[in-house]
């Protein structure tokens, strides 16, 4: 890239000094200073480049004009330093003294765009005794400051940074703020830093994270990964003791206790190096129970709760959350916040239920189509059963505890003493006390002091829900899942069976299997069945027969109807409508539709008459998929919000993939704290918020995380709000399209299913990621001198998945039928790992090595200017490589792999041995059929041999005659080609042009060089680039006196004149550049001066003839 840009710049910019430095061998340095041009103006641009080439050329170009650039740069740097010093002394005299020189000894180089800007950073450096370097130098710079690094620099980090620390600008700011030099380590650029969370961080977070789940799992992982467990007992007992001890000492402040227990665990885990067995977890549970003891006003219920917890499998049991003394649950502290959030969200569980369900019963939707072909014919006498579990979320948790059955129990994610958590579900005894969902725990306890608060148990929910649906499907084919605990059954076709009897059978079976009760409503349509269930609850069933419908509805309060919320209820109330009977008085559908809108009006009219035309099993395709978090969202700075967004995107992407859909419209919703809103009563809640949203539609549907992240970032940028004000963020994807299953087959899903069991729902996948992370952390645990080797393997597996397909493919291909060598992409082959390469090479019978070598040398020919100076004196290695291959081709040597492998690196040494054998046997007819570049290389080589003394290794007399022969053959052919073209510029006819051959044959070094440069310059035929290279590479050669000086002058002038003739009509620019070059360097070279003087009048005459003016050459 670097090369290209410099080349194109060179050909287009007349005044570009850049082009002269295109030989810079230090790529990164070049790009480096390119960055620098942001801060320097145009004039210094060329100089910056000059400084780079300096490093590579200082030694070899002592007496070349480039020392000019070098000395210029040195001069400039000196000047900049002086300026800096002057300013520094000014600013220090203006108040800040030496005690503020916190950056003493620090010298920064700012790379690229930073916030604050490089100038501000410079200001800080000035003020606080540091140094600021405008140009990167390994020796002067101590820290590189940048906010972002391009991939190329990351890959080639050492050559970019020279091993110097690369630090974010905030290091400078924070150091200034702290008024001392802080360690740069925490400020290392994230791209470079080890992104794995440290174990210590993990512990610190997990001890306070929402559920103890991850913590426990983690410990277990450590258990499995630990090898030596000798110290286990000691440890655990020790820890146990100290836990006890802490308990006693801490007394009532349970929150602290728990925290300290964890910190203890953490400490001992670090100290011992191996992990604990379940004992410690038991201890932990006990301590939790004790916590409960102390916090809960009702000791009895708490102990029951404790036992219930203890009885359950420790792994699946989320231990009740202890006190959130700090904002540990918020996005602030927890890097896995989003993950944990959704893992602990009941709404999320319900929301993702349907996908899970559909996966479990995929035949269901198909089966429907068979059952429902005649829905209309049977419409008059449909029978629907609505089954709903009784207070599902509570009863599942307490199903194994019959003693709790009649006690008031509520489910809540947290039972903190603050009591600001919301109850999500309460059982009937609790409801009798007025405890409802959505109530704060604190209020619930006020209503019912002995209420038992239990945490969610999502695994149990899943288990029970699965059982529930298994039973339903056993009895009826037409099942529509509404939620995890609620479903409609269409039993119309089950003739001969009494629906009431069926309902009671189902209910009984549910109770026997799950231990939870269910209620059922039976009616002629879904609406009525659902309403009937209301009456049936709890633990009952209710049948609304068609004749009873009217009576039933007459008394029914309207708000019982689905779809009628508070607002609509209020509106109807104003019209004195409170029951369905009253609603039915409004007999005209039109007036309802007019007042409440077409859809709502129709719905009201229908529902109030008990009409519901929906069919069981009509699963509505979800119109949008998204995820929203509006609890615990607190950001400190934009970085937090970005990482939060990206994990939210991951979540959404998982959900999309889980549903097998892709979306086109992306809506980002943000809850922004209202200006005057106070911290909400609910802990970490969102409080009073403004809801903002922006959306974006893209042309191609996607579910890719990266795309989502990019879009979300963009959308988030649109809001332009203070991240501290954000209380909730939601991302929703709509305009869903089905992801092509075929595509998916080869896509990520199949990969995923490789790794994970196929049944894994997104929920499970998420759960899985937690142990995995823990394991990764164990890996880093090792760094803390704790053995945990076996666990390293798992991250490796994930890596290898990425690699597998790519490395497999080529080998697969070649196994079946290797493509011809010419079809191979060198870029791919070249970057293959050596093992695979050697395997491939075997398949191709060793020819692959040749192929690669050939392509490599070709590539080098095009871009290998860096070596050119050397090349000029010694025939270059590249040529040699070609040569080697050449010999094989020409002489039909037995191809020997070992030989090739050795030969290529060794050619440089073997040159003399190879030459004679080949020269004597070169067959010109073969030579002529070679690609042009190769042929020219050989000719070049040969011509070099022809002239003793030119090259270092020209001791090869015997073959020169052959060489000449072959050359002449080639030349004669070229001549043949060119006879038919115009004689005016005959020297420029042919490819390569005739003069090139002529010059390479010439006795004059200058002309040889020119001919050589023709090939180096790459772009064939452009004299300007040839000249540029010539001047650049071999300028000192040009003035070496030769007896053939005059001849050379004449020949070259002639070439130039013919070039003028050739280009005058069509490419004045090219001539302009050529003569600019000549003119610029004729002061350095007598030869060029003479050439210029010879040709310039001719040029002006030509220009005048064609353009009616004189060429204006301002330079010189």
């Amino acid at each position: 890239m670097n090369l290209d840009s410099s080349r194109s710049a060179g050909s287009s910019a007349q005044k570009s000094k850049r082009s002269f430095n295109s030989s810079s061998s230090n790529r990164s340095n070049t790009t480096n200073s390119k960055k620098q041009k942001n801060t320097t103006n145009q004039k210094t641009l060329g100089a910056a480049w000059g400084s780079n080439s300096l490093s590579s050329s200082r030694s070899s170009f002592r007496n070349s004009p480039f020392s000019e650039f070098g000395s210029y740069m040195a001069e400039k740097n000196k000047k900049l330093h002086n300026q800096f010093n002057a300013q520094a002394s000014n600013s220090s005299s203006g108040g800040s003294n030496s005690e503020f020189a916190i950056f003493r000894g620090v010298s920064i180089f700012v790379d690229g765009f930073t916030v604050p800007s490089s100038q501000e950073l410079r200001g800080y450096m000035l003020k606080y005794g540091g140094r600021y370097e405008n140009y990167f130098s390994r020796h002067r710079v101590t820290h590189i400051i940048c906010s972002n690094l391009p991939n190329s620099k990351l890959k080639n980090l050492r050559s970019f940074s020279g091993g110097l620390p690369i630090v974010k600008p905030s290091w400078v700011l924070d150091s200034v703020a702290a008024n001392k030099l802080l360690s740069w380590v925490p400020y290392q650029l994230e791209q470079l830093a080890d992104n794995q969370p440290r174990l210590s961080a993990f512990f610190a977070l997990k001890t306070l994270s929402i559920s103890g789940d991850a913590f426990l799992v983690k410990h277990e992982d450590e258990c499995t990964s630990s090898k030596g467990g000798q110290e286990e007992d000691d440890n655990s007992s020790e820890v146990g003791k100290s836990t006890e001890y802490k308990h006693q000492s801490c007394g009532g402040s349970d929150g602290n206790t728990r925290e300290e227990v964890h910190s203890l665990i953490e400490q001992s885990s670090r100290a011992s190096g191996c992990s604990f067995d379940v004992k410690i977890e038991d201890k932990e549970d006990e301590s939790i129970v004790k916590d409960d003891d102390q916090t809960s006003p009702c000791a009895r219920s708490a102990s029951v709760g404790g036992s219930c917890l203890d009885n359950q499998d420790t792994k699946s049991l989320p231990s009740p959350v202890a006190v959130g003394s700090s904002e540990s649950h918020s996005t602030l502290k927890d890097p896995n916040f989003v993950e944990n959030y959704f893992k602990n969200s009941r709404l999320h569980f319900i929301g993702t239920w349907r996908n899970r369900y559909r996966k479990r019963f995929p035949n269901q939707s198909n089966g429907l189509k068979h059952v429902n072909p005649n829905p209309n014919s049977s419409a008059e006498k449909m029978t629907i059963i609505h089954v709903d579990m009784d207070c599902f979320f509570v009863s599942v948790v307490i199903r194994r505890h019959p003693e709790l059955k009649d006690k008031p129990v509520a489910v809540c994610h947290s039972d903190s003493p603050k009591g600001t958590a919301e109850i999500s579900s309460a059982n009937y005894p609790a409801r009798d006390y007025g405890v409802r969902a959505g109530l704060f725990v604190r209020d619930a306890k006020a209503l019912c002091p002995h209420i038992v608060i239990v945490p969610y148990n999502f695994e149990a929910y899943e288990e029970v829900a699965d059982q529930f649906y298994n039973i339903l499907h056993k009895h009826c084919k037409t099942v529509q899942a509404v939620s995890c605990d609620e479903a409609f059954l269409d039993v119309t076709n089950l003739e001969g069976e009494d629906p009431e009897h069926l309902a009671s059978t189902i209910r009984k079976e549910i109770f026997e299997t799950t231990g939870c009760t269910a209620s059922a409503g039976i009616a002629g349509n879904m609406l009525l069945a659902r309403l009937a269930t209301r009456n049936a609850k709890p633990e009952g069933q209710f049948h609304i027969s068609p004749e009873k419908v009217d009576d039933y509805l007459h008394q029914l309060p309207i708000k019982a109807l689905p779809g009628i919320g508070r607002v609509l209820e209020e509106k109807l109330k104003q019209k004195n409508v409170q029951t369905c009977g009253q609603l039915r008085i409004i007999s005209k559908k039109d007036s309802l539709e007019k007042d409440y809108g077409a859809k709502t009006g129709e719905m009201l009219w229908n529902y109030s008459r008990g009409i519901d035309n929906r069919l069981v099993g009509m699963i509505q395709e979800s119109k949008s998929i998204g995820a929203e978090v509006n609890w615990g969202v607190r950001f400190k700075d934009p970085k937090d919000s970005q990482s939060f967004l990206s994990s939210l995107c991951k979540e959404v992407s998982l959900r999309l993939q889980g549903c097998g859909v892709q979306g086109r419209t992306f809506t980002l919703k943000i809850k922004k704290r209202r200006k005057d809103a106070e911290e909400p009563a609910k802990y970490m809640g969102c409080g009073d918020c403004e809801n903002l949203s922006h959306s974006l539609t893209v042309p191609v549907a996607t579910d890719a995380v990266e795309v989502l992240q990019r879009i979300t970032k963009q959308l988030f940028g649109v809001f332009n709000i203070d991240v501290k004000e954000i209380r909730g963020i939601g991302l929703q994807v709509s305009k869903l399209e089905n992801a092509d299953p075929l595509k998916q087959g080869s896509g990520k899903n199949s990969l995923k299913s490789w790794l994970k069991s196929t049944s894994a729902s997104s929920e499970e996948q998420r759960n899985r990621t937690v142990p995995k992370k823990a394991i990764v952390d164990c890996g880093s645990l090792r760094n803390d001198s704790i053995p945990g080797r076996s666990c390293e393997e798992i991250p490796v597996i994930t890596n290898s998945v990425g690699n597998n397909p790519s490395s497999d493919e080529p080998s697969l291909n070649s196994n079946s039928a290797p493509p011809p060598l010419s079809h191979l992409d060198f870029g791919v082959i070249g970057s293959l790992p050596p093992e695979i390469f050697s395997e491939l090479n075997k398949i191709y019978g060793g020819k692959l090595v040749d192929f690669v070598a050939k392509s490599k040398s070709k590539g080098k020919m095009k871009e290998g200017e860096g070596l050119l100076f050397e090349n000029l004196v010694h025939p270059d290695k590249i040529t040699k490589e070609d040569k080697v291959k050449q010999h094989d081709d020409v002489q039909v040597m037995p191809s020997d792999e070992g030989y090739h492998n050795l030969a290529i690196p060794a050619v440089g040494l073997e040159k003399p041995d190879l030459m004679p054998s080949s020269l004597s046997q070169v067959d010109t007819s073969v030579l002529q059929q070679l690609p042009q570049e190769l042929r020219v290389n050989i000719i070049e080589q040969l011509s070099a041999h022809r002239k003793p003394g030119f090259s270092a290794n020209s001791s090869l007399g015997p073959s020169s005659k052959h060489t000449q022969d072959s050359l002449e053959n080639i030349n004669s052919e070229n001549r043949l080609e060119s006879t038919d073209s115009a004689s005016n510029y005959k020297l420029w006819v042919g490819n390569p042009p005739k003069w090139v051959d002529e010059f390479s044959k010439s006795n004059c070094v200058i002309l040889n060089v020119l001919a050589k440069m023709y090939y180096k310059s790459g772009s064939p035929g452009n004299l300007s680039s040839i000249l540029r290279y010539t001047i650049l590479e071999s300028q000192h050669l040009l003035d070496v006196g030769y007896e053939s000086w005059n001849e050379a002058l004449d020949r070259f002038s002639e070439v130039l004149k013919q070039y003028v003739k050739l280009k005058i009509e069509l490419d004045l620019e090219e001539l302009y550049i050529c003569f600019q070059l000549l003119r610029r360097f004729m002061s350095k070279s007598n030869f060029l001066l003479h050439v210029y003087d010879n040709v310039f009048p001719y040029l002006q005459a030509s220009v005048n003839e064609s353009y009616g003016g004189n060429l204006h050459l301002p330079f010189g």
Binding site: S12, L1068, E1069, N1104, G1108, G1109, L1111, H1112
Partner: protein, 204 residues
């Protein structure tokens, strides 16, 4: 700048050329600062940021001028298109010359994509060639002039009547030429160069 969809493939490159001229001339006028920069708006052409005149009259002048050339360019009659900046005495101060050479005989057809790619480089080069140009006085004027190889017959088309002989004076001495960009892709060749009055041009 507006690409017509229903163009025949034959005149495709001519049309691209004319389009390019319109953009390039606008760029030149912008570059020279004849009008306040507010009179232009940024647009994207060939994936480059270019300027476009906002004033309808200015836009129309440039557009109609170059599109009036289209039939002649197709016939290969146009040799040069000049943007001439001159002072109040009608004496040119600076001339931007587009030299066109269309090889009618050539059978090879230029690929539109290639042509666009080549023309892009003009616009890029143009945007950085301000230092080559001269500072204009405030009361300068400018015009687009087409140089024809031969005068078209008056009846050849209506549009030819829109072209009138210019009364801009010529320089006495051969001007100084500064090439800006040349491009040659068979059969079309375009060159852009600057002309300034020669140093020994008699001052009025």
């Amino acid at each position: 700048m507006d690409r017509k969809d229903n163009q025949s493939p034959h005149d495709g490159s001519a049309r691209i050329l004319v389009e390019f001229l319109e953009v390039a001339i606008t760029s030149i006028v912008f570059l020279k600062g004849v009008y306040p920069s507010g009179a232009f708006e940024r647009r994207r052409y060939m994936n480059l940021v270019v300027q476009r005149a906002r004033h309808p009259d200015l836009r129309d002048y440039i557009h109609s001028a170059v599109f009036g050339l289209l039939p002649f360019i197709e016939k290969g009659l146009v040799e040069r298109v000049a943007v001439i900046f001159f002072n109040t005495d009608n004496i040119p101060v600076e001339r931007f010359m587009f030299k066109l050479a269309v090889n009618q005989a050539s059978s090879s057809k230029v690929e539109d994509a290639d042509l666009e790619f080549s023309l892009r480089s003009f616009l890029m080069k143009l945007s950085v060639s301000e230092p080559l140009t001269k500072v204009l006085s405030h009361d300068c004027r400018w015009e687009i002039t087409g140089y024809f190889r031969s005068l078209p017959e008056a009846s050849s088309s209506k549009t030819s009547e829109l072209w009138i002989p210019t009364d801009t004076k010529q320089w006495q001495q051969p001007p100084l030429i500064t090439p800006i960009k040349s491009m040659s892709s068979e059969p079309l060749c375009v060159q852009l160069y600057l002309e300034h009055p020669s140093l020994n041009e008699p001052k009025p």
